[in-house]
């Protein structure tokens, strides 16, 4: 049976690629793409057959209701893939929280009483997990969540949206899937590491070289596409194909890695942030720059049939 799919965040790199992929999927009927930008700026292929693009402010509950109980119902949408989430760690405040958390909450509540929507897919993030020396390196779905009140809003919002969605699992008439994806190392995705690697030189804490797991946009989209067709619900860790030490990651990005005392990292990167306007926050990444944390994707492999298969397009080989 072909599925009608609503994609939020369709004007982001992942959302746009997901829309393209779904349009090429013969098991998908109509795609309702939702973004924040006007149609002419958002999707260059917005006039494609089987595609409707609508700019909607998801923080306005009434607009969301009009979307779901208007075009979405009329198009027979039965799956919603929610990928819209603030991408800049530097953006904080009530408006950001509304976009990240309240919008997810409203969307989920409305979907639960929707006549055609049956599946809710949340694109969540590996950042919701704690990374610590005394925790397992391989992160399963039952790994401790980062519930620190001192975590930046970027993390707290992701945790809140993720857990709010998880709470509905099994209680809701919807089939709910939460995909906790590894960091997508690509521009425009909100990748902290991408911003970090954009510097001509990369400083790293002396004496530490933790293992990271990173994913490509193609793999993130492939996992979301699997979720669209899934018959199961649940939480799934979605790792990328690249598991490597931080130092190797820096080298493959073509940057020199300079180890400095750990205590220097915070002020140096704070100055970089303040003076150059970069988004990378060392405070937010301090633990994973010391201790390894790699998503364990066995559940996604066993149940969704997802296998990471497209690595990062590294600028430097070897």
């Amino acid at each position: 049976m072909s599925r009608g799919v609503l994609v939020t965040g369709a004007d982001t790199p992942i959302g746009e690629r997901l829309v393209r992929t779904l349009l090429d999927d013969e098991h998908v009927g109509h795609v309702l793409a939702v973004g924040t930008r006007p149609m002419e700026e958002a999707l260059p292929f917005a006039n494609a057959r089987r595609l409707t693009y609508l700019p909607v402010n998801l923080t306005r509950e009434r607009r969301v209701r009009e979307l779901l109980f208007g075009p979405a119902r009329d198009l027979g949408i039965d799956v919603i893939v929610h990928t819209a989430m603030g991408r800049a760690a530097g953006e904080e405040g009530k408006a950001v929280h509304e976009a990240n958390v309240n919008a997810t909450r409203d969307l989920l509540a409305l979907c639960e009483r929707h006549p055609t929507i049956r599946t809710f897919v949340l694109r969540s993030y590996a950042e919701v997990y704690q990374v610590q020396a005394d925790l397992p390196v391989l992160i399963g779905e039952d790994h401790p969540i980062n519930l620190s009140p001192n975590a930046p809003q970027y993390v707290r919002d992701r945790v809140e949206a993720d857990l709010h969605t998880c709470v509905h699992m099994g209680l809701s008439p919807l089939r709910i899937l939460v995909l906790r994806c590894a960091e997508v190392l690509a521009p425009g995705t909100g990748s902290q590491l991408f911003d970090y690697l954009s510097s001509p030189i990369c400083l790293r804490p002396m004496g530490y070289d933790p293992m990271l797991n990173l994913m490509s946009v193609r793999d993130a989209v492939a996992a979301l596409q699997k979720a669209v067709h899934a018959r199961e619900h649940g939480i799934f860790n979605v790792p990328g194909k690249d598991t490597l030490p931080l130092s190797l990651c820096i080298r493959k990005w073509g940057r020199p890695a300079i180890p400095v005392p750990g205590a220097w990292m915070t002020p140096l990167y704070r100055w970089r942030r303040q003076l150059r306007g970069h988004d990378f926050s060392y405070g937010m990444n301090r633990r994973r720059f010391h201790y390894s944390g790699v998503l364990d994707g066995r559940r996604a492999s066993d149940i969704l049939g997802y296998q990471p298969s497209h690595g990062i397009d590294w600028p430097v080989s070897g």
């Binding site: 020396a133 397992p136 390196v137 804490p205 201790y291």
Partner: protein, 281 residues
């Protein structure tokens, strides 16, 4: 290739015999895609570990090994459980190299270290490259499910920090190693390490945290003495055959299995102590 890996290969090429380098090519290793496994182990650093530890193993501690090849399974999950002592974890390093040398194809004993070890700069990273993992249940579970060989010291920090007068008296014997072994169908290989308990006689401890360690040992010698190490491997305790996985949740069964392992290690220690001609001989 990074500078550290290039140096590792250079040193290995210069110091390891060609047949040993060839043998190490058959090392069991789950490459996560860039030459490292998910825990950060790299075969070149494992080979470098052999180069660096060989002088200690061969000449300084003159390690004698008994029964390793017969006791350690050639494949599949297994847990090595040994007594722990010596103020510095040299017993772990000697066992690590002994296992590497006495298994065909070579196996790396994934040493399960206390939580503070991965926090140590340089050392934590270097040890991880050699196969060490932090002592969390999750790490051990994943490795056993992958058919790896774990090296666990059930005495933990109280073992390595035991007073000289308590040498060869096993401390509080934790049960986690057998619980893991039963749950994941792995046999337990008991090992008695004779020699290490006299290498740095500990006469006290300063109860302050240092580099993550819970105390600073006060030892009679500033460096380990050249004691003669004897590593006695016992017949595997078939926790994989004699117990069912659900027994891992039965405290009585787990305690009973742990007591068997402890008794086996103690018997190996008693045998080793009776047979050795002297501490340094």
């Amino acid at each position: 290739m990074s500078l550290s890996l290039a140096i590792a290969r250079l040193l290995t090429a210069g110091a390891l015999p060609a047949e040993e380098r060839e043998r190490l090519k058959a090392l069991r290793f789950a490459d996560a895609g860039h030459g490292f496994d998910a825990f950060g182990m790299h075969p070149d650093i494992v080979a470098l570990g052999e180069v660096l530890l060989a002088p200690l193993y061969d000449r300084y501690f003159r390690v004698s090994s008994y029964g390793a090849a017969e006791a350690i399974p050639k494949e599949g999950p297994a847990v090595i459980a040994a007594n722990h002592s010596g103020a510095l974890p040299i017993d772990g390093a000697m066992l690590w190299l002994d296992v590497l040398r006495h298994t065909t194809p070579p196996r790396v004993a994934r040493t399960v270290a206390d939580h503070f070890v991965p926090m140590l700069p340089v050392i934590g990273t270097l040890f991880a490259r050699g196969g060490m993992v932090g002592g969390s249940r999750g790490n051990a579970r994943v490795l056993l499910e992958a058919g790896e060989l774990l090296l666990i010291f059930p005495e933990g920090v109280p073992g390595i920090g035991k007073h000289f007068r308590d040498r060869y008296k096993l401390q509080d014997w934790r049960v986690g190693h057998v619980e893991l072994a039963i749950r994941h169908g792995a046999p337990v290989v008991p090992v008695g390490v004779v020699g290490a308990e006299e290498q740095m006689p500990q006469i006290g401890r300063i109860p302050i945290q240092f580099a993550g360690a819970p105390f600073v040992p006060v030892t009679l010698t500033p460096l380990p003495m050249p004691v003669h190490y004897h590593l006695h491997y016992g017949a595997p305790i078939r926790t994989d055959l004699e117990y069912r996985p659900e027994h891992a949740d039965d405290p009585a069964a787990v305690r009973e299995a742990a007591a068997r392992v402890k008794a086996a290690v103690q018997a190996l220690l008693d045998k080793g102590l009776a047979e050795r001609p002297g501490i340094f001989a």
